[in-house]
Every structure is written in structure tokens, then in C-alpha cells.
Amino acid sequence: MSWLSYLKALNKALDNALATDESVVVLGEDVGAGMSGVTLGLQAKFGPDRVVDTPLSEQAFTSLAVGAALSGLRPVIEFQIPSLLFLTFEQIANQAHKLHLMTGGQASVPVTYLVPGSGSRAGWAGQHSDQPHGLLAHVGIKTVVPATPTDAYGLLTSAIYDPDPVVVFAPAAALGVREDVTAPLEPVPLGSARIHRQGTDVTLVAVGQSVHAALAVAEEFAAEGVDVEVFDPRCVYPFDWVALERSLAKTGRLAVIDDANRYGGLAAEVLAVAAETAHLTAPPVRVTRPDGAVLPFALALDQAMQPDAEQLRRALRTVLK
């Protein structure tokens, strides 16, 4: 038995991949110093050619990873800020994502984009607080948002070995989560959901740090005799629709909590699919950020823009009516 933090789990996944596979390389700003914590100690262990400090040229090194991937490497890029995905959207969405189809299957691009510290960091304001998994999913890039240390380890590992580009979001609010790990750490297949808590009354979908909010509220409701199923897709895209269908067939009710903009995100897609295919007993609800959210600096405002437990309770009560 040992306590593993989410951050350490990511570090272990990189460590293990670097140790077992020569083709794995890590690129990013200040990865040598391990500023974000994710790469701490890795440059000392594997050298500056495996854990590579880059200048501030995100666009160039993001596409450099594509060229390296075409030559058999498995680059992992660390981005210090989630909105650096905006800066490199061309390189990810228009190059890395499209190459396999456009070359008729000749080119595969096994690049992993790791974003430790997505979402609010409390006090980092508008340009450092995005949670843009919905953008990546809309474009069709494999996108994971682990909630727990074991999933962080398992999903990052699978991302690295996946033959396609994969974005791994590690929400700032989840980095401190710790877990008592008993079983050996294993890869977690992309596209497989995890039911954190079985329930029969309502399916509550959540990813990343929202899973923990969901579990806490589920316990409260359990005390009132309401049995909430906490459904963590883990992968925003591809989504485990089969598992969702199974859950909804059981509960007939749906709520989604997603710390992302409301319009057209993960929560919208889940509601849309449920509307198309499930016969729900009550209208489903979403708890999200507002449309077009920009997180203001002042802490009270920053928090007011994010979904919270009270909103979730209200939403669940509505859907359970």
C-alpha cells in the first residue's frame, strides 16, 4: 500500500515510458527543471536529449513533434498553459490530426500533448484558466481528462502508445488528488468509461476534478436515500457510448457536470446523444461554465464561473423530480 498523488502518477507514467521505450521523448518549456512537477527528476535520469527543454516556440516544436513521429518517435509535449492549445491549434488540428487520412494511411502521428494545470488555477485569470477539451473533441482529437492518480497514470500511458495524437488534460484542481494504490499501475484503454459509484436513480456524468465533486454530492444524496451513479467517461473523445447507454437504461435520468463552456461541449454532446437514443424519465440537466466563459481574476468571480456543488445539488434535485 502506498499513497500516490495525481502529479506523481503522471511523472511515473512518463518515467516508465522513457525507461521502457527508447522512442519516447518529452519536449517542452522548463521540463528539465520540472516546473510543473510532471517531469521532475526525469532530465537528470534520462538526459537532456530525452527530456528536452525548448525555447518558447510552441508552434514550431509542436509540428517538429509531427516530423519526429513520422520518423518513429513518440513525442510527449508538455504545455504550460491550456490556451497554448489555441496557439498550436493549427499544428494539432490541421496537421497532426489530418495527416493519417490525407496520406491515405501512410503517416501516423503518435504525439501526446500533456496539459498539467488545465482549468482554473485560482488567481491566474483569463488566459490561464481554460478547459478546452470540448474543442479538441469537436475536431476529433482523442482527448482524455483523468480524475484519479491511477487513471492519470493509465491514460497517459495509453496516450503515449496510441498511434494517433492524444491530448491529456490534467486539471489543476485534480493535481493534488491522492489515492491509496494497492494494485499495480496499468494502462487504461482510451474510450473506456469508469463507473466510480454504482447507482440506480440518476446517471451523473463527470470528468476530471468534477468526478470528485460528483462523488461528494452523491454521498450526500445517498444519505437521503437517492442512489446516484457517477459515470466518468475518462475519455472525452472517443466517448464510451455503450457504457452510457447501459447506465441510462438503468437509471432513466441524466445530469452532467462539466467545468467547461456550456455551448457545444462534452455536456451538450452527452445530452444530445441521450435525447437521440435514450428514453429518459425526466429532462436531463447540465452544470457547466456559462457560455463563452472567460475566468475573471478576482477569486470570487473565478469561482462563480465554475460549476459548484450547490449548483449540482440543485440540478440533481430538478432531474429527480
Binding site: 518558447l56 490556451s83 488567481g123 440537466v285 456559462p290 475573471p296 478576482a298
Partner: protein, 333 residues
Amino acid sequence: NPAPVDLSTPAGRYRAIRLIRRFEEQALELVKSGVIVGGTHPYIGQEAVAVGVCAALRPQDQITSTHRGHGHVLAKGADPARMLAELAGRVGGLNRGRGGSMHAADLSLGVLGANGIVGAGAPIAAGAAWAAKRAGADRVVVTFFGDGALNQGVLLETWNLAAIWSLPVVFVCENNGYATTLPAASAVSDPGGSGSGVARAAGFGLPAEAVDGMDAEAVLAAATTAVERARGGGGPSYLECTTYRFEGHHTMERRMRLTYRTPEEIAAWRDRDPLERASALLVEGERETIDAEVERTLAAALEFALASPQPDPATAADFLYADGLIPRPGVMV
């Protein structure tokens, strides 16, 4: 109200350097005590750059700033009280508490904004310069950026636009030796020579010069040349100020054990403190008077900031749209 800074004399410039220095030291304390949430990127050590450059500007001139922007904003004349209130996330702040350290702006003073994205201010500055030129105004725009920004594509694209359109913009690089932990010398090829910022800018057709960024008077002289070139229709320039940050990259760094700079290196640069350099131009007794006045100003600023209310959570989405469009909330039940 008198202007918060007067950069027209060496004494005024000393005072501005002192104001920024003490503002930043106060901010460090306020980060520790939790009044400032999220931390800051301290400007301590680089004050001569902001002050020397802004001393070359007129009130209607404009600037864009960076993540390490407190010095620029104050040197361009922002009210330290409203600046501090901004850092503390209060409604009395420059940005009504919506921007914080990395987004402080005061458009009425030509401070078009700090920026959280490295290099992102440059094209905005060029746009303001473009508008000025079109309007026949003799405004000049300065964009500050760090050595790290030299490798951002958008900055390099902007150099060219500014050059071909002969825009009244001055590109001021504060080369403090590091982009976070990355030595500036390792981020360009042949740093002293053919791959330096100056050589690179010259390759885009920009008049380019390096200056001692620890000496406000030297910065002022070089900046004046560039600013007046721009104002006179001579187009953009590149000015690289060699400087050093005495503190960590971000206040957070204090909690980490980083080894990218040696204590000896830091000490050597501290020996070249721009504050001491500027104080040498003061007359007997002036320093004490100024320093005391700065303390009073900052005490008043702190009082103002702490007295200013926290914003109401119900107003979180205010200002999202300029036309008042109210976004749908995150929960609608």
C-alpha cells in the same frame, strides 16, 4: 491629482524606480499573506528599463506589456493605488478586479494591457501604431517583451509588418538572461553575434541596438532615439535592454529548489542595482525625502486597495461582451 510619476528629471526617474521597487516588494508580502491570490512575476531588478523607456514617451503614447508588467504600467503613469487594488482583485482596481497582475490595463493612459501570452502584445502594439499612422497622429507605441518572446512567431511576423508599413512602434526586448529557467543564450544561436536579438532584428530591416538595461539614463537615451525616429516617420526600431531579475520567475518559485541560476550570478547582478545607479544622480538628502514620500504613497495605495470591495460573485460574467449580451449561465434550473 498630480501624475503618479514624473520621469522628466533624473530625480523623477529615481523616484519611479524606487516606487516600482517598493511596490513590487510590497506585492511580494501581499502574495505571502494571501491578499494577492495566484502570485506575481516580480519586476525587481529591471526597473531601469520601464522607467528609461517611458521617460522617452509622451502622455498620448501607448504601450503593451507582459506577464512581468507592473513596472511598465506604473512607469506609464498608472495610479499605484488602483494598480494594487487590481492585484488584490478589488472593484477599485484598474480592471475592476477582472484582470489581475497579468492583464493590468489603463487605456486612458495608453496602457493597452499586460498580457499572459508571451509575445502577444507586439502585434496589438503594431495595430495601435498602424491606427496612429493612419490618423496622422504623432503617437508612438512601445511594446515590451522578454528574451523568451524572441522565439515567438507572432513577434517575428510583427517585426516585418512594422518594417514594411513603417509603423511608429518600438520593440523593447528586456533580456534578463532567462525565459523562466531557459538561459537566453541557449535559446538563440551565437547569442553575442550572428544569432543575437539585435542581429535578428537587423535581418528584418529594423534599426537595432543593445543598451545597458540597468542604467535608466542609458536606456532613456537609446529609447529617445528610437521613439523620435518613430515619431518622425522613420518607422520601427528594436532596442534590447540587458537586464536581470533579482527574484524568481514567479513568486511560486520561492517554494521550489531550482538551480538554474547560481547565487554568485545573482549577487553579481545585484551589485549593478539600477536603483543605486539612479540614486547616484541625486543631490544630498534627496534620496531620503523621495524614499519617505514613496512609502507614504504606497501606504496610501495599500489602504485604498484593502478598502476597496471584493466584486460580487453575481457580476462574474459582467463585461464578457461589449454590447451587454448576457451569456447563458452554467446551470439553468
